[in-house]
């Protein structure tokens, strides 16, 4: 699947639920699946301090593609990170830097990426893109 197809697949998964609580149950389950950075491997430079929750992000560039590892102290934040990673992992830096991340808005999670939410996610997406640009 390409970048757009991956995003469309997530939108489809979420369209199965009408109820907000069910959507969040899915996000929480995704949060539990995420490939985390073990505590002993966490570095200060990976930390993105939000007002509410904190996020750690590690980016790897391998064979022309980007791979991300991340963690958060809040499970909902973690679930959203896991969605972002699903879409962005294994993509070329150029795609990540240039293509639109439209699924967040489509599934109604844009509030988590608004600056007022203060959960570190806005900064994280920015950093994911910047790390991609470095290898572009």
């Amino acid at each position: 699947m390409n970048y757009t197809e991956k995003q469309n697949a997530i939108i489809e998964d979420f369209s199965l639920f009408d109820d907000w609580m069910e959507k969040y149950e899915l996000i929480i389950d995704l949060g539990k699946e995420i490939e985390m950075i073990p505590n002993q491997d966490k570095r200060d430079e990976q930390l993105i301090e939000g007002c509410q929750s904190r996020v750690w992000l590690k980016s790897n560039y391998k064979d022309g593609k980007m791979f991300y590892f991340a963690d958060s102290d809040a499970i909902i934040t973690k679930g959203i990170i896991s969605l972002l990673i699903k879409v962005m992992n294994g993509e070329e830096p150029k795609t990540i830097a240039k293509e639109d991340l439209f699924f967040i808005k489509e599934i109604g999670l844009q509030e988590h990426l608004s600056p007022t939410r203060a959960n570190g996610l806005v900064e994280m997406v920015k950093r994911m893109k910047l790390d991609a640009i470095k290898n572009y």
Binding site: W20, M21, Y24, E25, I28, Q52, I75, T77, N119
Partner: protein, 411 residues
């Protein structure tokens, strides 16, 4: 605790005056439990703002035309209303500000000018960042020293430690009346009395108290008292600084501009009398007037009955929350207003707050601008519910059900 039909009717009557309470949030009835952040506004306040712009708008203190005169009168009447409600000695001791933060900054800046290196200011470990950072800025500007009174595990202030910190170098004690994150009520009368013995002045941060406690400034005998309009049913962007006139008179102006001057020339400018000396520029006129209306509204309430109601909500919610085994409440003193700060097991407060919001319950999560308290309890933050006069036990039942559902999903 059973609600009488009489008290239920009284609350319903109050609720009907707050239009926002009929709003739907995420398809559900709004349950607003974030009153410590800001209160909702009654129709009289909302109508006053609308009416002012439709019929009364003019600049004040300068125009000879009728509209300007009327606006000036309304603004000064609001000042008088607030002054008499709080029992200040004179209207000129009531200075309109942007809010609590603005008031504290004014004092730090102006009263701070009168301080010398090595002078000491005492604050407490439970202060809002607004009552910490202005003093830190002053500390680096004037080389004064900040002393911090610790708190006990219950959230109560350590009075013995406070007395030990007081000395002849203490020039100001700046302390919150009620903790915004824990709801603890401080024994401010005792603190004021003891501070005055060593000659220190006292600033009370009343951001969380005017809406819950009857304030008598002359009886309290504090030197400064600050609060925000938006937490007492008034609009945002307006607040009050009360100061004893003998102090305000010797303090230098905070900001320069229109209204605060008596005469301006390039050789020498002289300043206006109180309260105008501290009100540079066109003020938040409609804010001041509508804040006066908010105090009319408070005056129309049976305040004691409201206090009893809020306390009943607090006890009822505490009992329900304590029945959930993984819940830990922070700030366990009995001397509290209707605020409960808590966490659930290892669940991050942000997660609970997000799921409560999806069920129509508005709470606050995070450190509540009191990071030192969170460090003290070694937690990233809490979930804070804070009740107002219009909340009900039915809403608490719905909140507890929503909380239980959130816990179930997150565990």
């Amino acid at each position: 605790m059973k609600e009488t039909s009489q008290s239920r009717r009284a609350v319903q009557d109050i609720r009907s005056q707050f239009p926002i309470l009929t709003q739907k949030i995420n398809g559900r009835d709004l349950i607003y439990f974030d009153n410590a952040a800001t209160s909702q506004k009654p129709s009289v306040v909302i109508d006053k703002i609308k009416n002012y712009y439709e019929k009364e708008n003019a600049n004040i203190h300068r125009g000879v035309h009728s509209l300007s005169q009327e606006a000036t009168t309304a603004y000064e009447q609001a000042r008088h209303k607030i002054s008499s409600y709080l029992n200040a000695k004179s209207d000129s001791e009531i200075i309109f500000t942007k809010g609590t933060t603005d008031g504290i900054n004014l004092i730090a800046s102006s009263f701070g000018e009168l301080l010398n290196p090595e002078d000491e200011i005492i604050i407490s470990a439970m202060e809002h960042h607004s009552n910490i950072v202005p003093w830190q800025l002053l500390e680096s500007r004037k080389k004064i020293k900040i002393k911090v009174v610790p708190i006990h595990k219950t959230g109560e202030i350590d009075l013995e430690a406070f007395e030990n910190l007081l000395n002849e170098k203490t020039k100001l004690v700046s302390i919150t009346h009620i903790s915004n994150s824990l709801g603890i009520i401080n024994p401010i009368k005792e603190i004021i009395r003891k501070s005055h013995v060593v000659g220190a002045k006292v600033l009370i941060d009343g951001a969380q108290s005017v809406q819950h406690e009857k304030i008598d400034l002359q009886e309290l005998n504090c030197d400064f008292f600050v609060f925000s309009g938006h937490k007492v049913y008034g609009p945002t962007g307006v607040g009050v600084l009360y100061g004893k006139s003998e102090l305000l008179n010797i303090m230098p102006p905070y900001q320069g501009g229109g209204d605060m001057i008596e005469k301006v020339s390039f050789e020498k400018t002289t300043f206006n009398v109180l309260p105008f000396k501290f009100e540079a520029g066109t003020p938040n006129i409609v804010g001041g007037i509508a804040l006066g209306t908010a105090f009319d509204f408070i005056d129309s309430l049976n305040f004691e009955q409201c206090q009893v109601h809020e306390l009943e909500l607090l006890r009822y919610a505490e009992a329900q929350l304590n029945a959930i085994p993984t819940i830990k409440i922070f700030g366990t003193s009995k001397n509290k207003t209707s605020v409960i700060s808590f966490n659930v097991g290892d669940i991050h407060p942000f997660d609970i707050g997000t799921l409560l919001d999806k069920q129509g319950v508005a709470v606050r999560t995070g450190h509540h601008c009191t990071q030192p308290i969170m460090d003290f309890y070694q937690i990233p933050g809490t979930i804070r519910v804070s009740f107002g006069i219009y909340n009900t036990k039915d809403e608490i039942d719905l909140f507890v059900a929503a909380l239980n559902k959130s816990i179930q999903i997150l565990s």
